[in-house]
């Protein structure tokens, strides 16, 4: 009884993973990811510093320049998050179910933002025209 279940469990585990340590990412990869994170950090600060000097607000308006600024900053932040989650948090070499949970967090956030902002837009947000009713 117990022997059969043990056997099947081990047979299951003996697949692709048993010949090397579970979830292994080498040190050189960690250093490369860290370098990339520092590069992206410098890039985001540099973008923030440079954007006002480009005269974007004359080209696309003040709000247009803001949208560009936020888009650049968020794209960099999302790239940094992807690197940290995939490599530092080992999601790249994790079980499928763990990967599913990690993805679920971001799907949940997306649902919250889409539904709430959808509601605000449907009510005539932003409120410069007056208070929400």
């Amino acid at each position: 009884m117990a022997t059969t279940s043990d056997n099947s469990a081990q047979g299951h585990a003996a697949g692709a993973h048993d010949d090397h340590p579970y979830g292994h990412i080498g040190r050189p990869t960690y250093y490369k990811i860290f370098g990339a994170l520092m590069g992206l950090m410098i890039l985001t600060v540099l973008a923030w510093y440079v954007e006002p000097l480009l005269g974007l607000d004359r080209l696309v308006g003040e709000n247009g320049a803001r949208v560009i600024g936020i888009t650049v900053a968020m794209a960099i932040a999302i790239a940094k998050t992807a690197l940290i989650v995939l490599f530092f948090m080992h999601i790249k070499v994790s079980e499928r179910v763990t990967q599913l949970y990690a993805a679920a967090a971001f799907v949940g956030l997306a649902i919250m933002v889409i539904i709430i902002m959808g509601d605000y837009f449907a009510r005539g947000w932003p409120p410069q025209l007056g208070p929400l009713t």
């Binding site: 117990a2 022997t3 279940s5 043990d6 056997n7 469990a9 081990q10 047979g11 585990a13 003996a14 993973h17 340590p21 579970y22 292994h24 990412i25 040190r27 960690y30 250093y31 990811i33 860290f34 994170l37 520092m38 950090m41 985001t44 600060v45 973008a47 923030w48 954007e51 006002p52 003040e62 803001r66 600024g69 968020m74 932040a77 940094k80 998050t81 940290i84 989650v85 490599f87 530092f88 948090m89 080992h90 079980e95 179910v97 763990t98 949970y101 990690a102 967090a105 971001f106 949940g108 956030l109 919250m112 933002v113 709430i116 902002m117 605000y120 947000w125 932003p126 409120p127 410069q128």
Partner: protein
């Protein structure tokens, strides 16, 4: 079958004969036990993402509503110190990743060193954060900087208080509303303002929407700082356990999932930094 390459299946009757004491008996393999612990940690991290997500949601709504208020307010945050703190946290994330790697490979000395560096970096982050906070509180008390506040030194030239509350005064740069801003600290005048105005529509001379930015700034960074304190407690405990020699290449799950928590705190800061310090 698999039995030809695997050691004989452990009979659970003779306790830990076939495996180390770290393997609990309701798990069949150490690997399965580690997967269960990692998945459990991720379930918790999802709830953490949701917790911070609520604050980010409020941020999105109000920044959408008051873009120019956000641009004016963010100028009053200390971007150089925020950048230094970002570097500190990114380096600490690397040291945690290297600590997990060292535990995995059974290099105890490196594990202890990396955890030690992480603790130092964590306190450095909190120290810089505390300085930034005390700068804001010193301005509220009328002093130019925290040192002057402590020693009774140089006074702040203008009236400014960026800590949300009844004494909140946002320094006006457009001249017109300066008189009104100076009058604000008298408690009666502030109390008389109906609370509804705080979130009310954009009345040109109204200063209160600036408070929203600083309210969100203090709530988000303070919640993040609380997480840093919890993370430091976890890393300190891990250091103690590593010093006691608890972790082996077979069993280092606490280092792994403690590291996951630290990386999550880092990710939260990766978003807080551009959203509060890099606004224009």
């Amino acid at each position: 079958m698999a039995t030809t390459t695997q050691p004989a299946a452990p009979a659970h009757g003779d306790a830990h004969a076939q495996h180390g004491p770290e393997l609990r008996h309701h798990f069949e393999t150490a690997r399965q036990q580690k997967e269960a612990a990692t998945l459990g940690m991720w379930v918790f991290l999802v709830t953490e993402v949701m917790l911070f997500g609520g604050i980010f949601m409020a941020y999105i709504v109000y920044r959408w509503a008051f873009p120019e208020i956000w641009a004016e307010s963010a100028k009053h945050l200390n971007t150089p110190l925020g950048t230094v703190n970002t570097v500190v946290l990114l380096v600490s994330s690397l040291t945690v990743a290297l600590a997990v790697n060292a535990a995995e490979e059974g290099r105890r000395r490196t594990l202890l060193t990396m955890l030690g560096i992480t603790i130092v970096l964590g306190f450095a982050f909190l120290g810089i954060k505390a300085y930034e906070y005390s700068e804001k509180f010193a301005h509220c008390s009328g002093y130019a900087n925290p040192l002057a506040w402590a020693t009774g030194g140089a006074a702040l030239g203008e009236t400014e208080c960026l800590v949300p509350g009844r004494a909140f005064v946002f320094p006006e740069e457009h001249g017109g509303a300066a008189g009104e801003a100076a009058a604000a600290p008298t408690e009666g005048a502030v109390q008389a303002e109906p609370i509804g105005n705080v979130i009310g529509a954009a009345v040109p001379t109204q200063k209160t929407p600036h408070q929203l930015f600083f309210f969100l700034y203090f709530v988000a960074t303070a919640l993040h700082a609380v997480h840093m304190l919890i993370g430091l407690t976890i890393v300190s405990t891990l250091t103690f356990l590593a010093w006691r020699g608890l972790f082996t290449p077979v069993y280092y799950t606490p280092v792994e999932i403690g590291g996951l928590y630290w990386h999550l705190i880092d990710i939260v800061w990766v978003f807080l930094f551009p959203l509060f310090y890099l606004v224009h």
